[in-house]
């Protein structure tokens, strides 16, 4: 993640090249001329411009998009998008400070979903009515700014502050309304990365739902697959950014797994889960003495 962040923000400065033909569909603003590849968001938000380009350009654009979507899908969101990374940093900052966050419930996620649809329409349509998404895109404010280009403190900067602040209190809040990520997610059926669940191993503890920054409840509630299967149920949804948080927080062996081409690449494991929390055996002793522990704090 840090690597991709570096590459997408300072990429060309580090490697000295630009793969300008590849346009990763993430919100890494192409106004930043330093990045390794440019981002696909420009053409998505300027479909009118795209349609005036030559057919090679159109083909290359959709070609890379499809290849990216199939190969990686929203793994791009989880691990590559710089805007996602910025939000993750905000979230980690709050974790370190132990400040109360905002926990959303289903109702609020429904509202966010509505906002996302509105964003999507604006994102795709604004070019046709003469507007420019980039004018208020938060990525446009941060991506070039970090690389040392102009600091645009226009509407985009304003939104960027909102993104960081809301990302601080609610993990990846912008991703919940990000139109580009959603377009990418729509192709999840074709993507090689999948989130799989074993309903019998699952205790329905809800930890995955609590952990999911996108508020995807179905990973927790699904009890059997569409064909009645109990294991290897595909629980990927368009909203899933493949961040793997649910797998990390799942305490049951094999209940959740991220698969690539059907092979498990990341698997829920009880011992690993416990190790995140438990102190080492030689540290058990201090717990006994309450006086001591009070001083520890």
């Amino acid at each position: 993640m840090i690597l991709s962040f570096a590459l997408l923000i300072f990429g060309s400065r580090l490697t000295g090249t630009v793969f300008s033909n590849i346009q990763l569909p993430v919100l890494a603003c192409p106004y930043n001329l330093d990045q390794l590849t440019s981002a696909g968001c420009y053409y998505f938000s300027h479909l009118d411009v795209l349609f005036t380009e030559g057919w090679q350009e159109i083909l290359a654009f959709f070609g890379t998009f499809i290849v990216c979507a199939v190969l990686l899908g929203r793994v791009l969101c989880g691990f590559i998008c710089p805007l996602g990374f910025v939000q993750d940093i905000a979230h980690e900052a709050r974790q370190a400070l132990h400040i109360e966050g905002v926990s959303l419930n289903e109702k609020m996620y429904t509202v966010l979903r509505l906002v996302k649809w509105i964003m999507l329409v604006i994102f795709l349509g604004i070019g046709f009515v003469g507007g420019n998404f980039c004018d208020f895109c938060p990525a446009a404010a941060i991506s070039p700014a970090l690389a040392g280009f102009k600091l645009s403190l226009g509407l985009g900067g304003f939104f960027m502050i909102i993104v960081i602040v809301s990302g601080f209190f609610k993990r990846r809040s912008f991703c919940n309304i990000c139109p580009l990520g959603y377009i990418l997610g729509l192709t999840h059926k074709a993507s090689l990365f999948k989130l799989k669940k074993d309903a019998v191993a699952c205790t329905e503890c809800g930890a995955c739902y609590e952990a999911c920054p996108m508020g995807i409840k179905s990973i927790f509630t699904v009890r059997e697959g569409k064909k009645g299967e109990l294991s290897k149920i595909d629980v990927t949804t368009p909203d899933c950014i493949m961040c793997g948080e649910c797998v990390r927080r799942c305490p049951e062996n094999n209940a959740l797994a991220i698969t690539f081409c059907g092979k498990k690449v990341y698997n829920a494991d009880r011992m690993k889960f416990m190790k995140q929390y438990a102190p080492k055996p030689d540290k058990y002793a201090p717990f006994l003495n309450h006086e001591k522990s009070d001083k520890h704090e």
Partner: protein, 430 residues
């Protein structure tokens, strides 16, 4: 008049002395039976010592000095919260035949014996583990527990926690989070400790250590189902109710080490050909150990238990995804209700699944479904289990029992027949 009072008093005293006498006799008897089972690991001793300390020597819970006890029932009260507030939870679901006899006169005939035993303890008022509790926390689960909460509230400092009856809706969980906050206020009244992130995370670290050891144990047992006798394991799990978690963790650590070493050497606690049995159903609370004991005495290997004073009592860990006070409280509410396999919830698919998973993990060949007389919620679930296990071709029987020793012979016959069925029926079913 004075004379009358003193005679009265002494009659009462005699009753109490008789009670203590009788309960310790029963406890000694069952402890001996547990200890007499062959292949007892040496590291089991601290656990049985705890049971002895509480039920034979009639002492309070095993804990560092000056830590107040909070009585809890069921598995929905998160121990983490109580430890965080500077107290120690003591699980008081009763298994005493003697207390049951006292409670029998108080509770209605059809109430379950577990609740009768608790009421018996309360009314006779002599058991130190029970008496020393400064607060009783009763989750409202089944009807018996609901009435128990009312009964206790008239006599003791009591708080009832309203457990949601369903778990899929977000509101259900949020409601339980609120209950836990109320509970924490009540705890502050007892201990003068305020709820804080530091305290909570300290306590969660402590219980996580225990759950780490328990998970280690479970992994071991999944690998070698016969490495320890189920009765021994259940005794260790029962002991957690009366032991400060930091002590229990160490005991468990040693037990794991011993079992691991033995298993690696190929020393098992049961012979390979013994039918592997899982027990589930109503709680099995010391000293009411007759069923697990019978299973192993009659030649079965008790490889797994899915009961609330057994493994389930400490099984589900909180997944703290947000490092803040509220984050931990949510994690605690979540883990106390959502994964719980207690049949008092409306939906219980997860109970079926959990057992199916255990059948696989421990290579179980038969299921004994224990129903305490009057325990309706578990009895309801039997039908569901029977149907599901029928599909898998795993035999199951329903065994009903009460808190007395009159039914032991009859239970013995049924359990023996069941074990025979697995042993000899195996060839034909495969």
């Amino acid at each position: 008049m004075n004379d009358y009072i003193s005679r009265q008093g002494s009659a009462e005293d005699r009753r109490k002395a008789r009670f203590l006498n009788k309960s310790s006799t029963t406890a000694i008897k069952y402890l001996r039976k547990i200890e007499d089972l062959p292949h007892k690991p040496d590291a089991l001793k601290p656990f049985t010592d705890v049971l002895k300390h509480v039920f034979v020597d009639m002492q309070g819970a095993v804990k560092p000095q000056g830590v107040p006890s909070v009585g809890t029932y069921c598995v929905m009260i998160p121990p983490e919260l109580i430890y965080a507030m500077g107290a120690m939870p003591v699980k008081l679901c009763g298994g005493s035949y003697t207390a049951f006899n006292v409670g029998d006169d108080i509770a209605p005939r059809d109430a379950c014996p577990l609740v009768k035993a608790i009421m018996g303890f309360e009314s006779i008022g002599v058991m130190p583990v029970y008496q020393e509790c400064q607060l009783m926390a009763v989750p409202i689960t089944c009807d018996c527990k609901k009435k128990l909460a009312g009964y206790l509230a008239e006599r003791r400092n009591t708080i009832a926690l309203h457990v949601p009856s369903g778990r899929d809706r977000d509101e259900d969980m949020e409601q339980y989070v609120r209950e836990l906050y109320l509970f924490s206020q009540k705890l502050t009244e007892v201990t003068d400790v305020e709820l804080s992130y530091e305290r909570l995370s300290w306590a969660c670290g402590m219980t996580a250590a225990a759950q780490y050891e328990l998970s280690r144990f479970i992994e071991l047992r999944r690998k070698y189902p016969l490495a320890i006798k189920g009765t021994h394991y259940m005794a260790a799990m029962n002991a957690i109710s009366y032991t400060h978690i930091s002590l229990w963790t160490r005991y468990m650590h040693d037990l794991c080490d011993e079992i691991e070493a033995k298993a690696k050497r190929g020393e098992m606690a049961s012979k390979e050909n013994r039918p592997r049995i899982l027990i589930t159903g109503s709680p099995i609370v010391f000293p009411n150990f007759k069923i697990p004991l019978l299973i192993e005495e009659m030649g079965g290997a008790l490889v797994a238990d899915e009961t609330c004073m057994g493994e389930r009592g400490a099984y589900d860990p909180p997944a703290i995804v947000d490092q803040s006070t509220d984050g931990i409280m949510r994690a605690l509410a979540n883990k106390s209700t959502r994964p719980c396999t207690c049949p008092t919830f409306v939906d219980n698919k997860r109970r079926v699944y959990r057992i199916m998973q255990m059948l696989k993990d421990y290579r179980v060949q038969g299921v004994i479904y224990h129903v305490l007389r009057g325990c309706l919620v578990y009895d309801y679930e039997y039908q569901v289990m029977e149907e599901e296990l029928g599909k898998l071709g795993i035999p199951i029987i329903r065994i009903e029992s009460d808190y007395n020793e009159e039914d032991v012979e009859q239970l013995r016959i049924r359990i023996e027949a069941f074990i025979e069925l697995i042993k000899y029926g195996k060839g034909s079913s495969k």
